[in-house]
Amino acid sequence: MKNSKHPPSEEEGFIRRMNALDDGESLPPEEVRSLARQSGIDLAKSLAVALSQVQEAKKDLLKEQLDNARRERALAAEQLNAPRRKRSKAENLAVISHLTAMRPAGASAHAFHRNFETATDDDIASLAAELESLAGEEKK
């Protein structure tokens, strides 16, 4: 049950307000030890249980973060390993030139400024694929 589906009746509203008034009370520090004893709670044992619950929650959180990172990495790897279109070196250079021109000034691949045309066909094809992948990411 998530809260009440109906607005509270007048009487329920009154009891809620009495409860709110009661909830505002503080606990005198001198009563803490006595009340804790009367609660029947084994302080050491229950604290150990509580701390192990927190540890468990930390482990769950870490596992969740790792799972998310693994999923993202797998997705990125899948995109990078997608079969590349067979293109000639000239076509790949044209693709790189086109995609680099679309990027904001200063965001161009540094390699492109270092006489990149002389790199191997595989490196050029790889850069073209990465730039295409990045362009695809930016469009999302």
Binding site: N3, S4, E11, G13, F14, I15, D22, S39, Q53
Partner: protein, 196 residues
Amino acid sequence: MAKLTREQLETLEAELPAIWENLAAWSESIMRSKRWIRGNIAPHGRQAGDLLQHGLTLVLSGKRTWPPSLSVLDLLIGTMKSDAWSWATGLGNREAGIDDTSADQRLGADDNRPVSTSPEGDTLSRDCFVKLRDRCIEHTSGDPDAEALVMAVLDGHETPAAVAAATGLTTAQISNAKRRLLRKMSEDQLLEEARS
């Protein structure tokens, strides 16, 4: 439902040992403080330790939002108070927004039954609330401060400051009158439940 961040979990881990005794005391105090609504507030015979444990579970599961300004102690006390209200009435706490699936059944009650319906965490019916309110009014007899307090709450006031402004009483007088009144109500509830 927002799960706790790593920083929040580390804060909990670091602070719990120092405040655990305080929290145990609060759990007992809160269990007692709701007896005016239902003598045996906890479903299935749960005790103060269960309230504390359940409060921590609600926080860890993200069912209880943790505002950044709230200390661990205040967060868990607030959660236990909301939880105890839910246990006692079977109603979720509108302010806290806690999702309590343990009580989703509305039961009726006739005038011959005690205000509490059963210790199973079921929801108090409207008749029960009417009976509680009437009992509150009855118990103010011979206690002018308690009478003024109840009148102010009937008029819609719910904070000590607002009640003080409406009645002309000091907050200490209000606190004492409220304690006297709720003690009588609790005794009534426990007696009735013992008889039934």
